[in-house]
């Protein structure tokens, strides 16, 4: 069986066509459920691809994406929430911010930038940590961010969460962002920057002997990942209209890891395929959960499937390779 092999340019065109077609079809159908689901799936794709860069390229093991998502979400919400109601809903918000209203794309960008900044401050301290220490530290970060979000309720409304978020995240917006994120990560991977990162992943000490600044590269991957996560986090509440401190937590971190592991811890195409597959699978299972009233089955299945998968194919479906695309 000869597998199809496209040149990157053709693959890119195919990507744009596919995403564009999907967006037009779903938008046109007018079916709210599918619109929401497609939006969430595309955001998952963005998250997965960015995590592939943060974890897969440099070999770090960060569980921190949800923390940056939370940051990005709240920052963006500060600007997109209707000005009239901000005073009432977020009493502690300083006037300068309370008076400003930004449209979503801009607000999300601000969210992403703030998250990236936080990523830089935090990353400088953390990226040198060994695997399990980094994992636990980033888990701790999720909890720290959640705690702050819960307690700064003058701004975030704490545990009550923020409802009535304007649904400004259109499918076309998300579709465009998804394509851009994929291109960005692809270009990084196949440039010398990406090659250096992969060298760090393979053997950090050896890479350093070749003059590669491992710390700087890991930090860069971490910051970019944080920024994209923040951006995605900013988009999400504008799809589902609600946000709370616990929206992005361990379960999300775990599901993202599952996607990365299945797709191959470094394959962008693999991440995209896995993200779609797992999103669809989880959603179907979730509907089963709703009808049967048995909650928790999805996660058990994902967890068990992940363990089995790791036993059989520890490098994921594609490892570092990009299937179907000629990359030499």
């Amino acid at each position: 069986m000869k597998t199809m092999e496209l040149s990157p340019v053709r693959a890119f065109i195919l990507l744009v066509v596919a995403v564009g077609g999907l967006v037009l079809a779903v938008d046109g159908s007018g079916n709210g459920y599918y619109q929401t689901f497609t939006a969430l799936t595309l955001i998952n794709v963005m998250l997965a691809v960015s995590l592939t860069m943060t974890n897969g390229f440099t070999g770090m093991f960060s569980l921190g994406h949800p923390a940056f998502m939370t940051m990005g979400a709240y920052v963006a919400l500060l600007f997109t929430y209707p000005v009239g109601r901000k005073g009432f809903a977020m009493p502690a918000l300083p006037d300068i911010i309370a008076q400003v209203h930004l449209p979503l794309p801009l607000a999300a960008l601000v969210g992403g930038v703030i998250a990236a900044l936080a990523g830089w401050l935090i990353g400088r301290l953390m990226v040198h940590l060994q695997t399990h220490y980094l994992a636990v530290a980033t888990l701790g970060l999720i909890i720290v961010v959640q705690t702050f979000a819960l307690n700064l309720d003058g701004i975030t409304r704490g545990g009550r969460g923020i409802t009535g978020v304007p649904r400004e995240a259109t499918l076309s917006m998300i579709g465009i962002c998804t394509v851009l994120v994929i291109i960005l990560c692809w270009r990084i991977k196949h440039a010398s920057l990406g090659r250096a990162m992969l060298a760090v992943r393979e053997n950090e000490m050896a890479a350093r002997c070749f003059g590669i600044d491992a710390f700087r590269l890991k930090l860069l991957a971490f910051v970019l990942g944080a920024g994209i996560a923040g951006f995605c986090g900013a988009l999400l509440p504008h799809v589902v209209s609600v946000m709370s401190p616990k929206s992005f937590g361990l379960i999300l971190a775990f599901n993202l890891i599952a996607i990365i592991v299945v797709g191959g811890q470094g394959s962008i195409v693999g991440a995209i395929l896995a993200a779609v597959f797992i999103s669809v699978g989880s959603e179907s299972l979730r509907r089963v959960e709703e009808t049967t009233g048995v909650y928790g089955v999805t996660q058990v299945i994902v967890a068990v499937a992940l363990i089995s998968f790791l036993l059989v194919r520890p490098k994921g479906l594609f490892g570092l390779k990009e299937p179907f695309i000629r990359t030499s």
């Binding site: 909890i143 720290v144 992940l306």
Partner: protein
């Protein structure tokens, strides 16, 4: 000494003991197989639910309760080793990590399915809910029983590790599994034992936790589990006395944070704890008693 202070000290001892019990298991397991067992905190939850089940059944005499729970924890710990860890020996650390995380998620969600997501309340009999006056302060009897039992367990375990054949073998495997094998030590069996003992202690912590707080839910093990891992790091991963000391340091810090800072900060309790974790990882990752790990290539 003011009675408020006495109360806080007792609280710190009590909470610290719970962390110490779970931290010991973490440390033992890490020492032997160099893996953080994410599912360890959930063993505490299993212990708590076992307690609940046994108490609710009304059949079991109070004296037998701790023994049964500990035995159950021993079995549960061993089962987790067989099912989740046996197959990944020798795999890279990241794989082991993901597997234990998955195991934890699976256990939590299985508990959600079979035990329901509603927290359960229950009360121990009068004798445990007794309160006494200690130097003028009003303390719960259970908060004094917990540290005593914990320290006894710690003593027993330390003696076991230092004086018995199996205990010395465990230390040997922790240092050099290859050489240990050459002595005829069966690594698989030791790993099983370590998981089982860790499980027994965590289940005991679950018993105590439910007695102390009176409320349990399927997700209760995750956060304390992580905090216990922090305690392990404070003390130095792989060091048994370190885990115990770390547990108490963490317990006291947490109580001090809530007890002595203005109440508007008490909601930040968890942020404080994990901020502490991050700080320690940055400044002294080998903790108080651990050896510094070699730089990995």
């Amino acid at each position: 000494m003011s009675d408020y202070l006495i109360q806080q000290i007792v609280n710190g001892l009590s909470l610290g003991s719970l962390y110490a019990l779970v931290a010991i298991g973490f440390s033992l397991i890490y020492g032997v197989i160099r893996l953080v067992n994410f599912a360890h905190g959930d063993l505490m939850m299993i212990g708590a639910y076992m307690t609940f089940g046994l108490v609710a059944s009304g059949v079991v005499p109070w004296v037998a309760l701790p023994l049964l729970v500990v035995a159950g924890g021993f079995a549960a710990g061993g089962l987790i080793e067989r099912v989740a860890f046996r197959s990944i020996t020798g795999a890279p650390m990241i794989t082991g990590f993901i597997v234990t995380l998955s195991a934890s998620i699976a256990i939590q969600n299985l508990a959600l399915i079979f035990l329901g997501s509603q927290p359960r309340n229950f009360n121990f009999p009068e004798v445990f809910r007794m309160r006494l006056s200690l130097g003028g302060a009003d303390v719960a009897l259970i908060d004094l029983v917990i540290p005593v039992v914990t320290l006894l367990c710690a003593l027993a375990l330390t003696t076991f590790i230092r004086k018995t054949r199996v205990g010395i073998a465990i230390r040997a495997v922790a240092e050099n599994p290859f050489a240990a094998q050459l002595m005829g030590i069966s690594i698989g069996r030791l790993v099983f034992l370590v998981f089982a003992v860790g499980g027994a202690l965590a289940a005991l912590a679950g018993l105590f936790w439910s007695g102390k707080y009176g409320q349990i839910n399927p997700l209760m093990g995750f956060l304390p589990g992580l905090k216990a891992f922090l305690a392990t790091i404070i003390g130095g991963v792989g060091s048994l006395p370190g885990a115990i000391v770390g547990g108490y340091i963490l317990g006291f810090s947490e109580i001090a944070f809530v007890g002595f800072l203005p109440s508007e900060y008490s909601g930040y309790r968890d942020a404080f704890v994990f901020g502490l974790l991050i700080l320690i990882l940055l400044v002294r990752p080998q903790g108080l008693f651990g050896e510094s790990e070699q730089e990995r290539a």
